[in-house]
């Protein structure tokens, strides 16, 4: 019985060494390991089925995508004559073969499925080859002649903004009057901050497998976080009703936002192939094609101005964000909006003017990535604080701690901080992990070591939970109880490793009072649950879990009403616990199985479809004011790094986190999200460097050129403390959303490295430019060596002139 999974006493303990919450059972009884993430029992045996593992149907054609070889130009001809003569090649489809509208733009209709008229980024799909084998399809790509008249290429968002190349109009969030406030500030500092993009690097690449159906529609198995998006756009492209397109998702081998909107092209292309060829079509991108053709986390270039009072209160903050949106809007407007929502991170600032430009460049359309613009906004305010601290000669922590949000403080979008744990998170982390002692240790180490330096930074976070597009905060669950007492749950949630299926199973088991072993969480399917929101915004478990809870509550009530009638007992006081019906706490003469069976014979419905919409939310996108978030999640991380000042290499020694989980439904799953998110954030801030050249060609185009953290790059110590917080009634079972917030702890790694470099070279004028690669560390440690610094050290968005990399 899962029930009250873990006593909070256990949950609150520090998990620095071993983790004993999970009952160890004999391997022969894997079903008893119910407290843990349920899927891994199959993962470790290689039995979980991902897209490419689906048994191939006889007659399947394999698709490969012809890409634009240039980043911007007029598309003159697409000539497939030679390709079509190759053995095994069946079709080469272009925009002309699209029966419906050639359009897959989600927020703005500005993105064709297959290029038409012009090409806008390198890697843009131009044509689709269908062949009898995968080898034949790929071999044909080079034989499709694509003729393009080149046009000027923009890769820098500031250049795009200067030329008026914006994806959507700019927006400004404003509270107080920053213009007026400068005069009253004791200190005012200005600067520039840049953060680089980030490749999602889900280990399972994008793909889809489409089958023609008997009524002229298609069925698509897709590796997508947004089944409804795939369905809607495919229907549009094929000129069908949405009811003619079925999308099914079993699980993803990682998503991280990269499959929220950008799984759609591959689903729609496979469907187009199946629709035209009337044969199943499978399309799986190879790694390098995936890296070339799909968008990433948005690089940002930003200007900041911060004003402080004499006692280090932040009085005013102005920030202008230039978001590198890429060639089409995709999710960029929403990402940009979330940057504005999180532009003040977890600080209260009375006078804020935050403006954002979503800039059109000739890179693949950038897209959702864990944090969704929030991390980019937070990096700038933290840079502004660090800039002020360095120039004032005070520790950044002095400014950070003094300005943390308090209960009732207004965010710039006028929602008050309610159930605010900003100070609690900071103070708990500072006490538990002994921040003063950490600082002393670092200073002492630096005093006694010349060529090794340590650095320390504190990163507090605050992240709003909900889709900021209010309408998307709805979900449905379809729950069937079968006559043997087993239960199938369908929701709109997509399992991609975050453990949402486990949480949903727990919610169902807990609400129905039965063992989690009886619950199966079904694949995510648009015919079972329609009009779903994508699994995104950290809100999947909240939305779909709440819907599941509602459905199970209704079923439970129905069953207990039946029990009350059948057994002539008072309905009040009836419960189901451990699969036993209890009357006023005592076992009644019926069990779960008997009750379910009785319900069937009494013709009582054993199915329920429930709808949940997060209450109280509203936001006016014209005034940029409202109550957009169900609640906020808080936390604080201490990061310690050590730099080898001869080599410029470094290691993250410790990340120590106090995090606001609320009443964690599954501490094992939640802790995994914190650890994984933090390391992903560290990767973004340190190793992961996206490099495009001036022609818009991705140079960091494979796993040998784009490095994500490996085992040895992970922090040596990663402590996660569960703060004692009550959770929120808008969170599923008061267990707060946990997907995105931890990524932002990684920002601490940048500032800790900066701290270490400045310990070696106090005069260093390091630009606020992330990622802090070993290159940037070394050149900032030894600036005297290079009289003319490279632009690449100041701007991740800056493209290098190199066209080839020295191969390995």
């Amino acid at each position: 019985m899962v029930g009250k999974v873990i006593q909070m006493e256990d949950a609150k303990c520090r998990f620095s060494t071993s983790f004993n919450l999970i009952p160890t059972r004999l391997p022969s009884h894997p079903h008893t390991l119910t407290v843990n993430h349920l899927d891994p029992i199959r993962h470790v045996r290689g039995e979980s089925q991902y897209l490419d593992d689906v048994p191939v149907q006889h007659g399947t054609l394999y698709a490969a995508v012809v890409e634009s070889p240039v980043a911007h130009g007029k598309l003159l001809t697409v000539d497939a004559t030679a390709a079509l003569e190759l053995p095994g090649v069946v079709h080469v489809l272009t925009a002309r073969d699209i029966p419906g509208e050639n359009q897959i733009g989600g927020i703005v209709p500005d993105e064709p499925l297959l290029a038409e008229g012009h090409v806008h980024f390198r890697g843009q799909p131009v044509a689709l080859v269908l062949a009898e084998t995968e080898h034949a399809a790929h071999a044909a790509l080079a034989h499709v002649r694509v003729e393009i008249a080149p046009l000027p290429i923009i890769t820098d968002p500031r250049v795009a903004a200067a030329q008026g190349e914006l994806l959507v109009p700019p927006r400004t969030f404003r509270i107080g009057d920053s213009e007026e406030a400068w005069a009253g500030c004791a200190h005012v500092f200005e600067g520039v901050a840049e953060s680089g993009g980030q490749e999602h690097l889900y280990i399972e690449t994008q793909g889809a497998y489409a089958f023609p159906t008997e009524m002229g529609g298609v069925r698509i198995i897709s590796s997508t976080q947004g089944p409804t998006a795939v369905q809607r756009h495919t229907a549009h492209v094929l000129g069908l009703g949405m009811h003619q397109v079925e999308v099914d998702v079993t699980r993803l081998g990682g998503g991280f936002g990269g499959k929220e909107d950008q799984a759609t092209p591959w689903g729609a292309l496979a469907a187009l192939g199946a629709f035209v060829a009337r044969r199943p079509v499978k399309l799986v991108l190879d790694r390098m094609a995936d890296m070339r053709m799909t968008g990433k986390r948005h690089p940002y270039s930003s200007d900041f101005k911060i004003g402080l009072s004499a006692d280090l209160k932040i009085v005013a903050y102005e920030v202008t964000f230039y978001q590198n949106g890429g060639a089409a809007a995709d999710l960029s407007p929403a990402v940009m909006e979330r940057t504005l929502f999180h532009s003040t991170n977890t600080y209260f600032i009375p006078n804020v003017t935050a403006t954002a430009y979503s800039c059109r460049t000739h890179l693949p359309p950038n897209t959702a990535f864990r944090g969704f613009g929030g991390p980019q906004g937070m990096f700038v305010i933290e840079s502004a604080i660090a800039s002020a601290a360095e120039r004032l000669g005070v520790p950044a922590t002095e400014i950070q701690r003094r300005n943390l949000l308090r209960e009732g403080d207004l965010f710039p979008y006028r929602q008050p901080a309610e159930g605010c744990h900003a100070e609690q998170a900071w103070d708990t982390a500072a006490e538990l992990f002994d921040l003063p002692a950490r600082r002393r240790e670092v200073d002492e180490f630096n005093r006694t070591h010349r060529w090794q330096k340590k650095g320390l930074a504190v990163m507090p976070i605050c992240f709003g939970i909900s889709f900021t597009k209010t309408a998307m905060n709805q979900a449905r669950a379809l729950v069937h109880i079968y006559t043997d007492g087993s239960v199938g749950v369908s929701t709109g949630a997509v399992e991609m490793g975050q453990g949402v299926n486990t949480k949903i199973a727990q919610v169902a088991a807990r609400t129905l009072g039965i063992s989690v072993d009886r619950i199966k969480v079904e694949s995510t399917n648009t015919t079972r649950v329609a009009n779903t929101s994508p699994s995104a915004a950290s809100a999947t478990a909240d939305l779909n879990g709440k819907a599941t809870e509602l459905a199970c509550l209704a079923l439970r009530e129905r069953l207990l009403q039946l029990a009350s009638t059948e057994l002539s007992m008072d309905y009040e006081g009836l419960h189901i616990e451990n699969e036993q019906v209890l009357a006023a706490g005592k076992p009644a003469n019926t069990s779960w199985e008997k009750l379910v069976s009785a319900a069937y014979w009494q013709r009582v419905s054993l199915s329920e479809n429930a709808h949940h919409a997060t209450p109280d939310l509203h936001f006016d996108a014209t005034t940029n004011q409202g109550y957009p978030f169900a609640y906020h999640v808080y936390g604080t991380a201490l990061t310690t790094v050590q730099v080898d000042c001869r080599r410029g290499t470094y290691e993250v020694q410790a990340v120590q986190i106090a995090h606001d989980f609320g009443q964690s439904l599954n501490p094992a799953v939640d802790r995994g999200q914190i650890e994984g998110g933090a390391v992903q954030g560290i990767g973004w801030m340190t190793l992961e460097e996206l490099v495009y050249n001036e022609e818009g060609r991705l140079l960091s185009n494979s796993l040998n050129a784009y490095k994500i953290p490996d085992l040895y790059a992970a922090p040596k110590v990663l402590d996660v403390h569960f703060l004692d917080t009550p959770g929120h009634s808008r969170a599923v079972m008061r267990s707060k959303a946990v997907g995105e917030p931890p990524l932002m702890y990684g920002i601490g790694a940048y500032f800790a490295l900066r701290d270490a470099v400045r310990a070696f070279n106090p005069d260093s004028t390091i630009s606020f430019s992330a990622p802090m690669t070993p290159e940037k560390v070394l050149v900032n440690l030894h600036p005297e060596f290079t009289p003319t610094p490279s632009d690449a050290w100041n701007s991740p968005a800056h493209s290098t002139s190199a066209t080839t990399s020295a191969a390995s």
Binding site: F19, P27, G46, Y50, N704, K707, D710, E775, S801
Partner: protein, 490 residues
């Protein structure tokens, strides 16, 4: 025709020897537990175990390999193990699987099987399990979800269990504990049978004393002349997998005359197909280069070190080939042999004509590598800096050999990669050092000289300025790491 065991099943296949083991396992045998992540050996999602009979013929030694870069032909005569081959009956979990589940070491699951196979390979290893070695076994596996801490906990848990493992003949214990199924006990006998069949085929049926397995492909002379020579696959299968599927390949990985490391007098000779892992485990090498484990930890990952050959690294001609840089500073020579069995020795430093251009003729194959053992008093160091410290390609790498007598540098040989179109011997820098006292001034002279003879370019591994600075710094590190200069002097 390749013959091998895939799990508990004998495989005879005519699939091309140069195609990948991964495609064979997934799409020919429909064993879908082995995943495709990158097809370049950088993620480890496709990790399998490859077991080979040892010299005694009694024990199968298993190594983890990334099946995406393993030529199918290299499986010949071996025992290939995928997750389906270790799964216990009725859905129960092996101790490795159990540890990962229990510690939360799997989220999306796509990389998980790779970790399971690497850790199972560690359990099957004849080397003792230590905190460092159990982690090293998964250093070629990338996970994007977990942040690794849960996997570290799983590895630590496992290591504790493996402390009970008998030092020799561990297989019965491993089978009893459920690490591998019972059929593993039959594998030595089964592989011996394969080997005998090979020997019989090679000798026209007559038994000989030579137990060497023959290569999976036996090509006639003209075909052999056209064939691509394929070693561990770790470069060629990244660069041209389609081509290798479609052409004849001459497999050298298992040719026993191309293996082995021996010392005669002061000369050390390696077979061309020696792997980086074999270097690391060689007592001959460790005796002359005690710091080799530190150097090679920076070179690729455990599975790739078990696959890639030394000669392959040379012939790939990357300007930043790690082993190339190391052997350049050792003044290594290579033996080249033509199809007509004509042999000659050539200094490694003379192999490179330009970016990815070799001075050897097309039909010459590297058969051996030799170098003079450094004296115990010589200073030798290898340095590599890359964006990610491990399993990454260098921004700059460099090696230094210095013979110092009475505080004076008598001989010097420095090499550097990533600073020009070829792996470079820093001749001017080396010359500048000779005859000078070991001092900070001498180091500064060398650093200046080096800047004159390098020509780095800006690319994805770093800007030109960075690479110049990095080499400057690493030359200093050579002097510090070898103890020639102390911290106080610098």
């Amino acid at each position: 025709m390749s013959q091998f065991y895939l799990n508990n099943q004998l495989i005879r296949t005519d699939q091309p020897a140069g195609s990948t083991l991964l495609d064979f396992v997934r799409y020919n045998q429909h064993l879908k537990g082995t995943k495709i992540g990158c097809r370049e050996g950088d993620c480890g999602a496709c990790t399998v175990l490859v077991g080979e009979l040892d010299a005694t013929g009694q024990v199968v030694q298993y190594q983890s390999m990334t099946s995406c870069l393993t030529p199918l032909g290299n499986a010949h005569g071996k025992h290939v193990v995928t997750v389906e081959g270790i799964n216990a009956a009725r859905g129960s979990l092996t101790p490795v699987q159990q540890a990962i589940v229990q510690e939360g070491g799997s989220q999306c699951g796509f990389c998980t099987v790779g970790f399971v196979m690497s850790l199972t390979g560690h359990a099957l290893s004849s080397q003792p399990s230590t905190a460092a070695s159990v982690l090293a076994s998964i250093d070629g596996n990338i996970c994007r979800c977990t942040g690794y801490k849960s996997l570290e906990r799983a590895a630590a848990h496992l290591q504790q269990q493996l402390e009970q493992r008998p030092a020799t003949e561990a297989l019965p214990w491993l089978a009893e504990q459920g690490f591998v199924p019972q059929y593993f006990a039959d594998m030595p006998g089964k592989l011996q049978t394969l080997r005998s069949a090979d020997t019989a085929a090679a000798t026209g049926g007559s038994e000989t004393a030579d137990p060497l397995p023959t290569a999976a492909t036996s090509l006639d002379a003209p075909a052999a002349a056209r064939a691509r020579i394929l070693g561990g696959g770790t470069d060629l299968l990244v660069q041209q997998p389609e081509k290798l599927r479609a052409t004849d390949v001459e497999l050298v990985y298992d040719q026993s005359h191309l293996r082995g490391i021996r010392r005669e007098g002061t000369t050390i000779t390696l077979g061309a197909a020696t792997t980086a892992q074999q270097l690391l485990e060689s007592e001959v090498m460790l005796a002359v280069l005690p710091q080799l484990p530190r150097f090679l930890k920076l070179v690729s990952s455990t599975p790739i070190r078990q696959m890639g050959t030394v000669a392959g690294n040379f012939i790939n001609a990357s300007p930043i080939g790690d082993l190339t840089i190391l052997f350049l500073a050792l003044d290594a020579e290579i033996e080249l042999e033509t199809a007509a069995a004509h042999r000659r020795w050539m200094p490694l430093a003379e192999l490179y004509a330009g970016y990815k251009q070799l001075t050897k003729t097309a039909d010459e194959q590297v058969t051996a590598i030799r170098f003079e053992a450094p004296a115990a008093t010589d200073a030798f160091n290898f340095e590599k800096v890359s964006k990610r410290t491990h399993l990454d390609i260098a921004s700059v790498n460099t090696a230094a050999w210095l013979r110092v007598e009475n505080g004076v540098i008598r001989e010097a040989r420095l090499s550097a990669g990533g600073v020009g179109p070829i792996p470079l011997v820093l001749r001017q820098t080396s010359v500048a050092l000779v005859g000078r006292p070991v001092s900070v001034e001498t180091l500064r002279l060398a650093q200046q000289a080096a800047q004159q003879e390098i020509s780095p370019i800006s690319d994805v591994r770093g800007t030109e300025q960075y690479k110049r600075l990095l080499l400057h710094q690493l030359l200093e590190v050579h002097f510090v790491e070898t103890g020639l200069l102390t911290k106080e002097q610098l």
